[in-house]
Symmetry: C2
């Protein structure tokens, strides 16, 4: 159950009650594709860096180790030893971006495993069954994520099918949640709005799916190549057509600036691979923008990545040491940068929540965006 605690302009401050504890929103979910955050980050580390929700990928876990294995091990929470909320995606996005030859039919999608090429079928029911086996806190509906440059005609047909699939997802999830051997009988289901950059298709779809009384609603198919202006314009149009008293999730977004702008448009759930991927390449976030720790100017820099930062990297190590580790290809360098970046994102969300609580979100957003553009001394 979602409580809308406060609004500041369109920015929402909420709390989602789940069987795995409460989620304070706006929240950034930390991406652990294959049931682990890339960069040798353990669940004990996640406690330290303020992670509220871990996000795992249904497609990846279905092909390895297999959702049946995870179910036999007691579900994802027990398997990866994380007792707070987990969101699983539907597998749809990976099927459309990673898998080999695929065929989309009314019943679902036929495709090949990216690991060994074996044939897999996934439709709405299969996606719900896999996510039920994984026993995540929140399951995502199985949708098609069409190219944002798909023509209008294709987009309309795709969105209509996504709506039909959503209804099948809802029915299947209700059935699964009532089975005796289901691990999490309170698994939530979020629907996904699609429609590319066609505002009218997006809005009509948002109105349609809002009627289904799901546990939350996501905006999908953005951050896939369109401009930031298009993304913000779509959010301006679509978010008012999604239920305010439900979580609003912008999938796969994004930079700290993207998040600040999207919160201002009523979004309160986010996820993105940027902090972990950038961290593995030595790119670290600060209040004064991103730093590339490979840069020679950090060779003798004995400051932490960011003064005053409470992350495990900044509490212990200098930029000079982390730069050395990165150059020597020591995994520890990647791990420290990933820990810092995830802490940075999680801490940014905490500041965002505090600013909304204090009724000063606009000022906070402007100050913070200005900081990102102002290099450090």
């Amino acid at each position: 159950m979602y409580e809308l605690l406060k609004k500041d302009g369109r920015a929402k401050r909420g709390r989602l009650h789940t069987v795995h504890g409460d989620i304070e929103t706006p929240v950034f979910m930390n991406v652990g594709t294959a049931a682990a955050i890339k960069g040798a980050v353990s669940t004990a580390d996640l406690q330290q860096i303020g992670t509220q929700v871990e996000l795992s990928n249904t497609y990846h876990l279905h092909v390895r180790p297999g959702d049946q294995v995870v179910k036999k091990m007691g579900g994802l929470h027990k398997f990866m030893v994380w007792d707070k909320p987990i969101l699983t995606d539907s597998g749809g996005f990976q099927v459309f971006s990673l898998a080999g030859l695929r065929k989309i039919k009314e019943e679902g999608v036929y495709f090949q495993s990216h690991i060994d090429g074996h044939k897999i079928f996934m439709g709405p029911e299969e996606s719900m069954q896999i996510q039920s086996n994984l026993a995540s806190t929140i399951a995502m509906a199985f949708d098609e994520c069409p190219s944002s440059v798909a023509d209008r005609d294709y987009m309309q047909k795709s969105v209509d099918r996504t709506t039909r699939w959503l209804k099948r997802c809802k029915a299947e999830m209700e059935r699964l949640n009532s089975l005796p051997d289901t691990i999490n009988k309170h698994q939530m289901l979020f629907g996904i709005n699609q429609g590319g950059i066609y505002e009218d298709i997006r809005v009509a779809h948002a109105d349609e799916i809002s009627k289904l009384d799901l546990d939350g609603y996501a905006v999908g198919g953005l951050a896939v190549g369109e401009s930031h202006e298009d993304m913000y314009r779509i959010l301006d149009e679509v978010v008012p057509h999604l239920p305010e008293n439900k979580p609003t999730y912008l999938m796969g977004v994004g930079t700290p600036a993207n998040i600040l702008e999207a919160v201002d448009r009523g979004v309160d759930f986010f996820d993105c691979v940027y902090p972990s991927r950038n961290g593995r390449h030595g790119h670290v976030y600060t209040k004064h923008g991103k730093l590339n720790l490979f840069n020679a100017r950090f060779e003798l820099d004995d400051r932490p990545i960011e003064e005053g930062c409470g992350c495990p990297a900044c509490q212990m190590y200098s930029r000079a040491y982390i730069r050395h580790l990165l150059k020597a290809k020591e995994m520890l360098g990647m791990r420290l940068c990933v820990l810092h970046n995830l802490y940075f994102y999680n801490h940014l969300m905490e500041e965002i929540r505090d600013a909304i609580d204090a009724g000063r979100y606009k000022e906070y957003k402007e100050e913070t965006l200005r900081g990102f553009e102002t290099p450090e001394d």
Copy 2:
């Protein structure tokens, strides 16, 4: 200063007092080649797994980031944030095994960097200067590590030169320790016995270097391809010719069984890359021998790597989960296996010390060796 606390047969139980704290021996030093343990292991992790001494490689740190950089950053302890003892090797072994084209002269060795091919000269004085810049707790003498199959004539000439180099190391270390801007003015120096598998050359060399009153003595040039029987035979002959009231260090050794046998022959310092290297490949140590976690039989195994083990991996995670991580090439899998293996070695040494304290080392050794040969239930 080294205290010999107790002997049990030839097994020594000692304590080395250093400016960075006491080392209880027998001890296994954890190898962090480039100022970090491979496998994303941080110094905070080392505290948890019971590491007493970290070992770093002079050659690697000389070429990257450069010992001058480490000195400017306040020495290795400050750079890598580790306040307990650090031993640095002399660089000699790497010069002879890693570096490109090399020429050995009386003054030292001319060779090429394995990273960019640039020409480097290293002799006894240079090795001491680099190690003084790194400011380790214990420096190793610069020696030649000849092939164990070198002919007798070459071996004798090489060992004679190593003795001359050792005297130059000692003089240079004394000079460096008295300089005002030296970071660690109490840097210790261990000498190294060589001679391959020629017992008489080994023994004569041991007698010769024992006269120099160094802080400790190592047996080098073993574990480089000779049989275990040769190694034990050499130890049987040589250790009695090294001072009992000084640390006795067997370089680069070895398996848990090697360590148990060497302790029984009076060795009390060890180092080896096995636990971290094997861990990165999913091979983990237990009281019942090594397990390969890639094996399919661990797919649904919800036990820890070893029941009752106090390491961070066994405290949290199942074999099934770690196996999944390894197969998915998630760095966390490697990290957990490395943490387990280093803990296993460190804990083995603790048991060895307890057994010597209790005067039951022989029994402990036999029981433990039998366990290694007995597969788990």
